[in-house]
Symmetry: C2
Subunit: 216 residues, 2 copies
Amino acid sequence: MRISELAERTGVSIPTLKYYLREGLLHAGEAQGATRATYDASHVDRVRLVRTLVDVGRLSIDRVREVVRSLDEPPASRHELLGAAHEALRPHVAAADPTPEALDRVRALGPPGCEHSPAGHQLAQALTAAGAAGWSIDDATLATWQRAMLSVAETDVAPSLASAPPEEALRYAIVGTVLTDPVLLALRRVAQESVSARRLGPGPPASRGPATSPAH
Amino acid sequence: MRISELAERTGVSIPTLKYYLREGLLHAGEAQGATRATYDASHVDRVRLVRTLVDVGRLSIDRVREVVRSLDEPPASRHELLGAAHEALRPHVAAADPTPEALDRVRALGPPGCEHSPAGHQLAQALTAAGAAGWSIDDATLATWQRAMLSVAETDVAPSLASAPPEEALRYAIVGTVLTDPVLLALRRVAQESVSARRLGPGPPASRGPATSPAH
DNA sequence: GACTTTGGATAGTATGACTGTCCAAACTTG
DNA sequence: CAAGTTTGGACAGTCATACTATCCAAAGTC
């Protein structure tokens, strides 16, 4: 297909597609002379991936470029696949380095060495940021959250993926994370409303729960 | 204290503080003549709040202004407090309107009417976005996640808050949510690494788990 | 052969979040 | 009390990000 058709199918304008080509987010089409190239399904998929990362995941163009590069060279070993996905989706850091205390807490939560993985580092940073803002999270709360997220992770890890080709597996992990993180956070909020409605008695027509708030 | 001291204590530059004053993110100091005003602890707190929302929560200045306005006029009824916090922290929407199917699923998950609350709307949008990107989440998975987030929400709802003054309660809810959302997401990632390490056998020195990925 | 489309290069725009400059009135210090 | 510093307020300038727009000549289409 030509670029105009790619634009139609993805809903992305031609100038923007050219911009993505320039920026290395989209691989070039198959050249057929100086002023002609054809695009295929892989381009449609790539554009949709980019839009998902940008619109849902709020990734910057630079970060998206990192993601597509990692897809082009997925980690050789399966053992690094999750790490690569987490690395690609690490939060924009305006964050300070984690404190040793935060790293200790992380160490206690995951598999050995997890405090050096991208996810462990993220967790340490998040704990550090909370602490710096005066929000302490006690061990009991953290343990509860950990159990909850373990049960979520059980559903996350799809066995089929262990056998898929690395690029596909990596893309699956990245897209799944970007799309389901907001679902999880929204579920938390709905759950807060359920709990507060139950705890403080149902309010009026009850479209919202009574006054409550996240843990200390 | 004067503005220079406010800048020192918060680590925010004077021009930026002036910008926040202009933009209505920071209430004016107590004027003492044409070229003098004094600031107090409430200003320090406010600046820290703004920085937390911007740095950790990635809120735009417009959104932060909404938040501080809602703090100045907290909802009269306790029943609307959580809703106000969720409304203030709704994700930047590049998102399409939720589909009826998504709203049905939300309706089945929370208290009656929850699909009209800010949190329910967020959830419906997140489900819709996932669906549009070809990522279906089955009922069993969603139920598992719901249970997990309910146990998280149990720790979130602090009884003490029901009795705190509305502004304080609202601020507590907002700050807590902004600071703990990243903790939860990072815990999920660490948990994924635990699960994949367990499922596929520990990798090499095991600083990362083997290939796996989020649910289908 | 007239018209349209393309790739490639380059320049321009819109937004958001600051940052810098000026000024005169207060204040502080010597 | 004179010299120098700080302040509030107004306004203009900057920087980064993510596009958009314009040009052009070669290639295709009708």
